[in-house]
Amino acid sequence: MSKKSSELPMGGNILEPGNAMQYKTGGWRAERPKHTPDNCLWVKNGTCLLCWIFCPDNAVKISEKDGKYLYEFDYDYCKGCGICANQCPNDCIEMEAE
């Protein structure tokens, strides 16, 4: 943010693709999603993933390790929009006040 006008790309263009990673938007969050794995279809059998598909900030992090399906949120980027909680067919995500 200390760059002078002469040091910035013309017209404020962003010349480097994918650099939204550098801007951590987690600080905007008023409510944080909390995941309960009991009824989660991903954790159970590696399906569903509606939350992962719809998250506008790629803040749902999923992985597989030793035959287990792992689930977490990336709170550096989660803005707390609640789309994941709305999408979940099994009510596994609850929004809690920060």
Binding site: S5, L8, G11, G12, L15
Partner: protein, 388 residues
């Protein structure tokens, strides 16, 4: 040499400049430009992608998209059409896209009127467009060709308006000396864009800039506008070598020993020059400064040019409601403020809605200016040629 209207002359220039995309919506008195261009397209004379759109807002938006992809782009509008483009004008300049916009100056509604005054493009004077006002069809043709070189220069990269008086120039046939196609092609060259939309090298054009960056981006734009003076002179001197024609940022006509300098532009400037000839025959020391470049405003040069006069009589076809005086006079007064000895400035609003501006209107303003000089005091502005 051909007989062409101002609109047709601009259409010819656009054709020879080999534009890639033209997107426009018809509005009197600009229509002939796009109509002629559509003929060129239909006859296979141009390879341009012509995009007919449903409004001027869309026309400028399409131009922006094409220009961002690296194309050489032009459009044309006037009056209410230009007003509908308003929001997008600022995007074109803010994104630093060298789009050429031909404007056939026309009054704004209401009451609805199709004739000439400068309210439309004067209203857009803060939009970040370069503005050049032409006095003849030849100048409209020449300026359109030069405008691409000025706008696309890497020190500038700003959109530009080429303005002609609606009907008075847009629909009047004058002799126009056309350059051969290859001469124009080699003069304008091919656009060398700086940052373009390219799937192989993705960038983001037009991102959100809030409190932390917006001001810096506007600072860049302001600097680019200041570069126009230098680039304008360079491009014009190159053009002069080819054609023998040049216009300058402004034209001085018999101003050297003038006590009163009439300052105006576009068609009233031609009338003013004829008036000056007649008044000079009667022994009056009067001249004309005919402005061409209104944005950026060449304040430093003009203030020097005017400093030796006793009075400057501004004639302008725009009324800025509630302002202390009107757009052209405001610029002139600001330019003169730093001069140790300032001439008196009178401001005459003339010809709104295409009201004829005969020589007698210019003479009336001149005589009034002389009276005010004797009294040592002038009103901030007044209207001339209206039934009060």
């Amino acid at each position: 040499m051909e007989g062409l209207t101002g609109d047709a002359a601009i259409a010819q220039a656009l054709k020879q400049c080999d534009i890639d995309v033209l997107s426009a919506y018809p509005i009197t008195p600009q229509t002939i430009i796009v109509e002629d261009y559509q003929h060129f397209y239909a006859d296979g004379e141009v390879k341009t992608k012509v995009i007919p759109v449903e409004s001027e807002h869309s026309a400028m938006s399409a131009c922006i998209g094409a220009s961002a992809a690296g194309a050489r782009v032009a459009t044309a509008s006037a009056s209410a059409g230009l007003a509908l483009m308003w929001e997008v004008l600022y995007c074109a300049s803010g994104l630093r896209l060298p789009i050429i916009l031909a404007v056939a100056n026309r009054a704004l509604s209401a009451p609805i009127n199709i004739h000439n005054d400068w309210s439309d493009s004067y209203g857009a004077r803060d939009s970040g467009f370069i503005q050049m006002y032409c006095q003849s069809c030849q100048e409209a043709y020449d300026t359109t060709i030069m405008s691409f070189r000025i706008a696309e220069n890497h020190s500038v990269l700003l959109p530009a308006m080429v303005c002609i008086d609606g009907f008075i120039l847009s629909h009047n046939v004058e002799r126009v000396d056309l350059l051969p196609d290859d001469v124009v092609r080699s003069f304008v060259g091919v656009r060398d864009p700086v940052q373009i939309l390219d799937p192989d090298n993705p960038i983001t054009i037009g991102p959100l800039c809030l409190t932390d960056y917006y001001f810096e981006i506007k600072e860049q734009q302001d600097r680019a506008m200041k570069e126009v003076f230098r680039v304008y002179k360079e491009v014009e001197s190159e053009f002069q070598k080819i054609t023998g024609r040049s216009y300058g940022m402004y034209e001085s006509y018999k101003t050297k020993d003038a006590d009163v300098i009439i300052l105006t532009h576009s068609s009233p400037a031609g009338t003013a020059k004829a008036v000056v000839d007649a008044l000079r025959d009667q022994g009056e020391k009067v001249g004309v400064l005919r402005l061409k470049l209104f944005r950026p405003f060449p304040a430093a040069e003009i203030s020097k040019e005017l400093a030796s006069a006793k009075a400057v009589a501004v004639f302008e076809k725009c009324l800025s409601f509630g302002a202390p005086s009107n757009p052209l006079a405001l610029e002139v007064r600001t330019a003169l403020y730093e001069q140790p000895k300032r001439p008196m400035v009178t401001d005459f609003v003339i010809g709104l809605g295409g009201r004829d501006v005969p020589p007698s209107t210019i003479v009336e303003g001149y005589n009034k200016t002389k009276q005010y000089l004797e009294k040592g005091k002038a009103p901030l502005y007044e209207t001339l040629g209206v039934r009060k």
